[in-house]
């Protein structure tokens, strides 16, 4: 036990002391806000520098009028198609919209000519405007006053509330649950890949630099493998915790800054979600806050930590076994396949099945099979999952990682001392069978 602890310490300190660890840990949480900041900065810059774009409208129906926006002005000079083309070619106009004479029931042949590719938003803006104009016109022709139509248009939003056996009501919003399930699932996926790879690299390093034989003369190969997996896992958790603290602090600062610019009502709601639940929600922010307050965060965090570690341990052992069987990272490719596939299945399954329908049978199986459950189950946990399913999934995951660790231990103890043999699945199977 003492020796495992020594290995854990070494693996942990060797990585945490590295400059690259410090850089990655500090920079990663800044990357996302930085990227967003850059986009905001660019778009702000664009808005300022962009000159008004004039678009000529050639309307042969003499019916459409388009309102100018901040970016686009529409001119109706009553000229021909060829003249308008010439104006675009000369650079007098950004583009021109050609509306041929058409039947209102079947508007066809509308073309936008531009000096460059028009943006999606411009086309959408034009399409929306024209559609609305045509609809209004047709309603008018069939004898309905567009004013009535406008009055009748209503915005509908459905609030969804779950009712449990005790009659407790919780406001929820599938979007928020989706986002939470998505985020936690992806985090586990990335964590397993990044740190699993580190385990593999570490094992290959010890094997190829021939340190391993000295090490295993002092401790059991299984202790060495376990110490490495736990040590690297601790590095990951440390990094993760630092990120949580950093992102938490950063977002508090940003929220605080934004909060000052927010209407008082919203700020109040954000500051006091308890109060909000007794009031009728008036804004989206309040709605989200209310939903968030309805989620069992303790349960979510605890299950996240469980699947985070369980998934890491299960795959970590497999990565260690692969590392022990090969002599260089490039050789590892052939064995990566069976490890990568279930991870990708879980990842795809999270999007295709679990997040869209957490209670489907595909979601059930994905979330209980140990190879996919760490990622897939997070999608269900965020929506709320029957405790029987959760217990089954957790039990199987514990069994799963005990099994992979046991199996990896057998491959590992032989693999680390093998040099010059080209490993194959057949050979690995032989190692599993022959080692005591």
């Amino acid at each position: 036990m003492d020796k495992i602890w020594l290995v854990i310490q070494r693996e942990y300190l060797a990585r945490v002391k590295k400059k690259s660890f410090l850089l990655a840990t500090l920079i990663t949480p800044l990357i996302f806000p930085a990227i967003m900041g850059i986009f905001v900065w660019i778009s702000l810059g664009e808005e300022g520098s962009q000159s008004l774009r004039i678009i000529e409208v050639v309307d042969e129906n003499k019916m459409f009028f388009l309102e100018s926006s901040e970016q686009y002005a529409f001119s109706f000079s009553d000229i021909g198609k060829e003249d308008a083309k010439q104006m675009v070619q000369d650079g007098d106009r950004y583009g021109f919209l050609y509306i041929p004479k058409f039947d209102l029931k079947d508007p066809e042949g509308i073309v936008f000519y531009g000096e460059d590719n028009p943006s999606m938003s411009l086309i959408a803006y034009l399409e929306n405007n024209l559609r609305k104009k045509i609809e209004d016109q047709r309603l008018f022709e069939s004898g309905i006053d567009p004013k009535i139509i406008n009055e009748v248009r209503t915005k509908v939003g459905i609030r969804s509330i779950t009712l449990d056996e005790q009659g407790e009501e919780t406001v929820n919003d599938a979007t928020v649950n989706y986002a939470l399930g998505f985020l936690t699932g992806i985090l586990i996926y990335i964590f397993i890949f990044v740190y699993g790879n580190q385990i593999m690299q570490g094992v290959i390093e010890e094997k190829s630099s021939r340190i391993v034989e000295i090490l295993v003369s002092s401790l059991k190969p299984f202790q060495l493998m376990l110490g490495k997996i736990v040590g690297i896992g601790a590095v990951g958790l440390t990094q993760f915790l630092i990120w949580v603290v950093l992102i938490g602090t950063l977002s508090t600062i940003v929220m605080g800054y934004l909060g000052m610019q927010m209407p008082q009502q919203t700020a109040l709601e954000m500051a006091n979600p308890e109060l909000v639940s007794t009031m009728t929600p008036t804004s989206d922010v309040a709605e989200i806050m209310q939903v968030l307050s309805g989620i069992d965060f303790l349960g979510l965090v605890l299950s996240f930590l469980f699947y985070f570690l369980g998934g890491y341990l299960l795959y970590g052992a497999l990565f260690a076994a692969i590392g022990s069987a090969v002599e260089a990272p490039s050789e590892a490719q052939q064995f990566m396949f069976p490890v990568t596939i279930p991870l990708i299945v879980a990842y795809m399954g999270l999007f295709v099945f679990v997040l869209n329908d957490p209670d489907s049978s595909a979601s059930f199986w994905l979330s209980v099979i140990p190879l996919t459950s760490p990622i897939a189950m997070m999608g269900r946990v965020s929506y709320g999952v029957p405790w029987t399913d959760l217990a089954l999934s957790m039990g199987l995951l514990i069994g799963g990682f005990l099994f992979t660790t046991w199996m990896a231990g057998k491959i590992y103890r032989i693999g680390i001392l093998m040099h010059g043999t080209k490993p194959s699945y057949k050979l690995l199977w032989k190692w599993i069978r022959t080692s005591q």
């Binding site: 021939r210 340190i211 034989e213 003369s217």
Partner: protein, 297 residues
């Protein structure tokens, strides 16, 4: 110090060790000889508890081999290395702690050895920044840092430059003087003759020979004499293979059932005997002879 009885080990259908019996006395340097693939490394790994034997017994200082012996053995494998990114000091501390030394014990020992091998100035350097010779010194220190009563060195001089090899050789002799038992596995016979008190030879998974160097050499005396004659009276028999130089005739003759004195008096009839000496085989010759013999048999 170390007794091995009836040790067997096979990998699948491959027999690596067959009925090995060995006895190593305390405070000797024991040469474990054999060509590549003979089973030396397997034997050493079993003593180090890296792998397990299939059957047989191993005793160290009167105790059945058990996990506590790990701290009593220092092992320098043939395939060896260090963590390249780790500092000398940290590295030695790690290996010492794995051998069950306390932090403060390890500190004293590391200081002592860094000073002794003159690499104290390099303690805070990473292995990758050291010269190869420096790294080899660190490697050696890591093997003996816990002052093990039993030291197992697998091809210790391979990969060491001559200066370091000499240094390591002297350290080994010094450790022997302090009562350390050393098992030296090698196929370099010159270092065997120089260092070892006892040897055992393994070929094709079997022990084919063991004993002190003197015993081994004695049992392999081929009963051949090297002879120099001058001032020939009679011509020498033509079946003798003779090399003549400045009137001195050099050749070797087997005793062929005679006593040395009978052979000598016979030779005296031919001329003046300048030299009459028993040919003692080198360890290398015995080694090659034995390996060939077992291969043919």
């Amino acid at each position: 110090m170390l007794q091995i009885k009836n040790l067997n080990k096979s990998y699948g259908t491959n027999v690596a060790l067959r009925d090995i019996d060995l006895s190593v006395s305390k405070g000797v340097i024991f040469g474990l000889l054999g060509p590549n693939g003979a089973g030396k490394t397997t034997l050493i790994r079993i003593i180090n508890q890296i792998i397990e034997g299939d059957s047989g017994e191993i005793w160290i200082s009167g105790e059945r081999l058990n996990p506590s012996h790990v701290a009593k053995i220092g092992y320098l494998p043939e395939e060896r290395g260090l963590y390249k990114k780790m500092k000398v000091w940290d590295q030695l501390m790690y290996f010492a702690r794995l051998k069950a030394l306390s932090h403060s014990q390890a500190k004293d020992k590391i200081n002592y050895w860094l000073e002794k091998l003159d690499i104290n100035n390099w303690r805070e350097k990473k292995i990758e920044d050291l010269s190869k010779g420096m790294a080899q010194k660190v490697q050696f220190i890591s093997t003996i840092i816990h002052e093990p009563p039993l030291l197992i060195l697998d091809e210790p001089f391979s990969g060491f430059d001559p200066v370091n090899a000499e240094l390591i050789k002297n350290e080994i002799l010094e450790l022997k003087g302090k009562g350390t038992t050393v098992i030296l596995s090698t196929h370099r016979m010159e270092s065997v003759e120089l260092l070892c008190d006892q040897v055992a030879m393994i070929n094709r998974s079997r022990k084919i020979l063991d004993g002190t160097i003197r015993e081994v050499k004695k049992s392999f005396r081929p009963e051949v004499y090297s002879i120099s004659l001058a001032d020939l009276k009679d011509p020498l028999p033509h079946e003798w293979i003779i090399k003549e130089e400045d009137g001195i005739y050099n050749f070797t003759l087997p005793l062929s059932g005679k006593t040395p004195n009978q052979l000598l008096s016979e030779l005296m009839q031919y001329g003046e005997v300048r030299q009459f000496q028993e040919v003692v085989p080198s360890m290398e010759e015995i080694f090659i002879h034995q390996v060939k013999a077992t291969q043919n048999g």
